[in-house]
């Protein structure tokens, strides 16, 4: 069968796989954003213990392969605790924890890139640290962070493919299952790759637009 015929024949399965990929990405990124912001804030704290907690988390995430993290969460923890974990749940936990670690570093970098005088100016007006952080520092940090944030979104989307190994029916796993029936590896992997490529290109385009809109002031005038 030719590629167009394969697309027509497997359209709904492929779309289903893509939908799962996108769903996993979005849910994981939302949780990861909360984790990243939390641990990012811990890592710029004045308190040593809080910084240490953030450091340990980030080091563990960066110091181990995603695949090992997935196995640890899907096979390791349930084995130790004697419970069963739904693969989708394990996948979301893995991706969230993983992206959360990288996002924490991105948040830390973004916050540290804001001039120290900004925090001092806000505090000198009588603002508590939390208000100064949320209203003065973070809005500026997020502007500089935008490219790195988008990059992490794309990486997390691609990382979902690794979760095919624990049996989640996302796009890559769907491709493998189809090939198991029709043996047309070249054509099917081409289709799968193009699908990833298109979705990531769309994401890149949207993010470029957001980035442009966020440059200082100009948009409001």
């Amino acid at each position: 069968m030719s590629i167009p015929e394969l697309i027509v024949q497997n359209w709904s399965r492929l779309l289903g796989g893509l939908a799962m990929t996108v769903e996993l990405t979005i849910i994981s990124l939302i949780i990861a954003a909360v984790l990243g912001l939390t641990f990012g804030l811990l890592s710029v704290s004045k308190k040593k213990t809080l910084r240490a907690i953030a450091l340990v988390y980030v080091d563990i995430v960066r110091g181990t392969p995603l695949l090992v993290q997935a196995f640890f969460i899907y096979f390791g923890i349930p084995a130790a605790l004697g419970l069963r974990l739904d693969p989708n749940m394990a996948g979301i936990i893995t991706l969230s924890m993983n992206a959360g670690g990288y996002l924490a570093e991105i948040f830390r970098g973004g916050i540290e890139s804001v001039n120290k005088g900004q925090m001092e100016a806000a505090r000198s007006l009588g603002l508590p640290y939390s208000l100064a952080m949320t209203k003065v520092i973070l809005p500026q940090a997020i502007r500089t962070m935008t490219p790195a944030l988008i990059n992490q979104c794309i990486i997390t989307l691609k990382d979902t493919s690794i979760l095919s190994i624990i049996g989640i029916q996302e796009l890559t796993q769907t491709g493998r299952l189809i090939i198991a029936n029709n043996y047309q590896a070249f054509e099917m992997w081409t289709i799968v790759a193009v699908m990833y490529f298109i979705i990531i290109m769309i994401l890149t385009k949207i993010s470029k637009r957001i980035e442009r809109k966020m440059s200082y002031g100009k948009s409001k005038n």
């Binding site: 001092e120 100016a121 007006l125 809005p139 002031g217 409001k220």
Partner: protein
Amino acid sequence: MGKVKIKNLKKSFGDLEVLKDINLEVHEREVICIIGPSGSGKSTLLRCINALEVSSSGTIEVDGNDITNAADNELNKYRQNIGMVFQQFNLFPHMTVLENISFAPVALKLKTKKEADEMSLKLLRRVDLEEKANIYPEQLSGGQQQRVAIARALAMNPDVMLFDEPTSALDPEMVGEVLNVMKKLAKEGMTMIVVTHEMGFAREVADRVIFIDEGFIVEEGPPQEVFGNPKNQRTINFLNMVL
């Protein structure tokens, strides 16, 4: 009664003792200019007054409130009463000029947005920048930014204003406009502590000039005395270099 009372203040950064036993009392409506060579501790002294630097020992009272032993939430309250103007302006780049000024009173729920904006416009009129209300700081010159920064500090209606070398980062032609705003403020009776290299300003506006060197107050007095008839050899040497 003194507006600002500093007793036996010491401040070290690691092994480096920057302030060694500073005693200073600033009275209501008084304008103090602090002069001295770079590294003498004058900026550190100013930053201790609103606890941007935590002092190592001694006490600082502002309006009778002990700054040095204040809990976080008390300190936030005390700071509302102490305006500060920085060398690098430190305006918030993601806010318009008006938002910069209205920001703190609104964020601290002291004023509604509308009340704050009205007040901000009045303050902008005072620093002669009313027409710049809706643009962003990066589109202003240094002198204009510093005038906005003064208006921002005034928005909290402070009793004391601290100026940390407010004209040192400015091009020479913009120094005058900032100093004029400060002169006006002094005339209106604001209590001001100004760290400055502008000897002309100190001579003209200060009620008292403080010369700091190596962490001590070496000499203090009315400007005509300190500039006209300095007694300490270090003051004489410093003035010879800068005048």
